[in-house]
């Protein structure tokens, strides 16, 4: 059994550097799987916004990562929340065009398994399937128990979740 740091050193997970501003502190962390790292490099740069908005899916993810890691308030009411529980302790990080599936190892520490175009996920109703796939990856990962925070309470998985 291993820790996230050991998995990072072994190349089984990668710590995401959010490139915060000079005066920002990294209050929350993101680790990503090799699968998600590949997706960031191969697929994400080529994704096109179905909403045809000025910031590309790649820019949306970069901005979300910065917001998440800087520890700022995540949720402004039920409609404006960039994280959402799916099932079995699997969560998604959301932008208008992207969904990233993963879980919280401990509070404020997200482990992302894979990403998808939001439109693709919604069109083919892939939430359940992708949550199951993510859970299988989590279960197979040689990570110290408990591997994740169970339940669907966002305040249990992130600090400073909501306004007010």
């Amino acid at each position: 059994m291993t820790t996230l740091i050991e998995l990072d050193q072994a190349g089984e997970l990668f710590k995401l550097d959010p490139l915060l501003e000079a005066n920002e502190q990294e209050w929350r962390m993101i680790y990503i799987s090799p699968h998600l790292r590949n997706w960031f490099e191969e697929a994400l740069p080529g994704l096109i916004s179905v909403w045809k908005v000025e910031i590309s899916p790649l820019q949306q993810v970069d901005a979300l990562v910065e917001e998440f890691c800087s520890g700022t308030t995540l949720c402004y009411g039920p409609q404006f929340k960039p994280i959402q529980h799916i099932e079995g302790g699997i969560w998604e990080l959301k932008t208008p065009d992207v969904r990233i599936f993963g879980w919280f190892r401990v509070r404020d520490c997200f482990v992302g398994w894979r990403g998808e175009h939001a439109e693709h996920v919604k069109t083919y109703d892939l939430y359940h399937g992708l949550a199951g796939e993510t859970a299988r990856f989590r279960d197979q990962l040689d990570l110290d128990e408990p591997k994740f925070i169970p339940g669907e309470d966002p305040n249990a998985v992130v600090s400073n979740y909501s306004f007010p």
């Binding site: 050193q9 490139l19 502190q25 000025e54 590309s56 402004y76 208008p96």
Partner: protein, 124 residues
């Protein structure tokens, strides 16, 4: 093992984070006004003479917002937008060397926008 960084050009990174941040500032202002006085998207839409679905898409990042619309939304919320081009400030405890970052980014400052809660008297 070095940490992984998402590859985005510095200018695109600045643009994406700015646009995202502006939208989040609007969402925050809306949530505050909703909590304070029960403001709804329908009321904003009515005040601006547009359909509620347009406001909803703009607030959720599914429709671009012009600078003019930022001001209109602020007005409809009884707020005032505030816009600045800030110079980067070097301080202790920062995450990286600001000078190197500015050179790499080919930018000399940070743009920032906030929605102040100074109520405008003619907002509905």
């Amino acid at each position: 093992m070095p940490s992984y960084r998402i590859t985005v050009s510095p200018s695109k990174r600045a643009a994406g984070r700015f646009v995202y941040g502006v939208r989040r500032a609007i969402q925050k202002a809306f949530a505050e006004e909703q909590s304070k006085r029960g403001l709804t998207q329908t009321a904003i839409a009515r005040a601006l003479g547009i359909h509620r679905s347009v406001i909803n898409r703009e607030l959720r990042g599914k429709k671009d917002i012009t600078l003019g619309r930022v001001a209109e939304l602020a007005w409809a919320m009884g707020r005032k937008p505030h816009f600045d081009f800030l110079e980067p400030v070097e301080r202790g405890g920062q995450n990286y060397d600001i000078a190197a970052c500015v050179n790499a980014d080919a930018t000399s400052g940070t743009a920032n926008i906030e929605i102040d809660d100074r109520a405008s008297s003619d907002a509905s």
